[in-house]
Symmetry: C2
Subunit: 219 residues, 2 copies
DNA sequence: GGAATTAAATTCGAAATGGTACAAAAAAGT
DNA sequence: ACTTTTTTGTACCATTTCGAATTTAATTCC
């Protein structure tokens, strides 16, 4: 116990996630899980219909703590949306990068999408971008930028899929990857909307299958 | 001025829209235009973010009058949505019924859709079904029913288009009208969302063109 | 002209909302 | 033990919100 000085600064950069020995009273919440709860609420009810009291109850943080940790309601909304996009991207990026036949890749993407849209205790939660962020996008430039980034990111990911597939001969020479990508995104959007109207998963899967038949050629 | 009695009751049934000689103080507003103003607000801001004061200001009716004429906020919202669907249907029904080549019919439908989604003084208004009604649909069964009706109505109208086109030989035998109809609806949905994010009309038209190329065969 | 009827306009009230001020609490540093 | 720092928890405030009660105005019927 003689050498009880601070851990060698050489490892300082490495174990950033472990106890940073903060100075004051420790937090009674985990910022990440709290943000997840906030995200759930915003997804279900949208920006305006979600009150700070609701958020406070869901996160277990009282309002001043919420404010201190995330800023005002709008900032919390934006951070929630950021988190949603990060999660969605993380869930899909491996599939988009995978070396697999076009149809299989797309099937896996849509399976993930349906998982995201249909989960939720109090009904299917749909897609944050489609359901609530797009609404705010008209009047809020910052949210609009994020929505646009989300939309084009998806378009591009699909576009790469189709371009690679064409190069591999899975699609006819004349196929237009950009147009197909927009259709693939459109299919994402339509199932997000229908999920929110409680269309059962079976029907959504049928819609996806029909779209895949058109986009990839009938199986 | 001798024969100043009411107009002959024989014409009563015919000119229903003219003065019905109501009993009390006449209305200071036209219910139809007031509902249109309410619709505009709900489309722009959604249900929760639209206050009765906003609605009162926009319609020129004070709150008790609003309440008396349309019921509470939720009823007004539902009536607005009803009105939106009626307007949209009216704008499209002739095109859907028209005797014209598939591609031309679809082009006209999408032109109307873009007109609807992109209009609005304070930014593009998007689609009521997609932007606000679908959000409410999770928790409100009545709204959900209307949303589902709107979605399937569009699917069916597109389905008829594609079925007729196949019968006329405009599509290959193996084409699946139901799947194509879902893609056509999906394209409606995706442009509604993108319009809301202020994607310019030119880009939306390009997306539509690409979708048409895939669905109808490149021109 | 007066009663009846319908709607407008004013006003009220209870609850909820977003945000903040301030004191108490829990930890680390000295 | 005492100070410093950070967070919690309570209470508060001004404003907004939805809804309704009440009064006033405009019209038709008798």
């Amino acid at each position: 116990m003689v050498q009880k000085s601070k851990k060698p600064p050489s490892a300082a950069k490495i174990d950033a996630p472990v106890a940073p020995k903060r100075r004051g009273r420790p937090r009674a919440y985990e910022p990440d899980v709290a943000l997840g709860k906030a995200l759930d609420l915003f997804r279900r009810d949208g920006f305006a219909a979600t009150s700070l009291d609701d958020l406070s109850a869901a996160t277990g943080m009282n309002r001043p703590s919420l404010y201190g940790a995330f800023g005002d309601k709008r900032e919390l909304y934006i951070k929630s949306y950021q988190r949603y996009r990060d999660d969605a991207r993380a869930a899909m990026v491996d599939i988009f990068r995978a070396e697999a036949p076009l149809r299989e890749r797309l099937e896996r993407i849509y399976r993930i999408a349906l998982d995201i849209y249909l989960s939720g205790e109090s009904g299917p939660r749909g897609c944050f971008t489609v359901m609530t962020a797009a609404s705010e996008a008209v009047s809020d430039p910052e949210i609009r930028t994020m929505v646009l980034a989300g939309l084009t990111e998806l378009d591009k990911a699909f576009g790469i899929c189709f371009r690679e597939a064409r190069e591999r001969g899975e699609l006819p020479e004349g196929a237009d990857p950009a147009a197909l990508a927009h259709l693939a995104s459109a299919t994402i959007h339509t199932i997000a909307i229908r999920a929110r109207a409680r269309v059962p998963r079976k029907e959504l899967e049928a819609i996806v299958k029909g779209a895949l038949d058109v986009m990839c050629g009938a199986k």
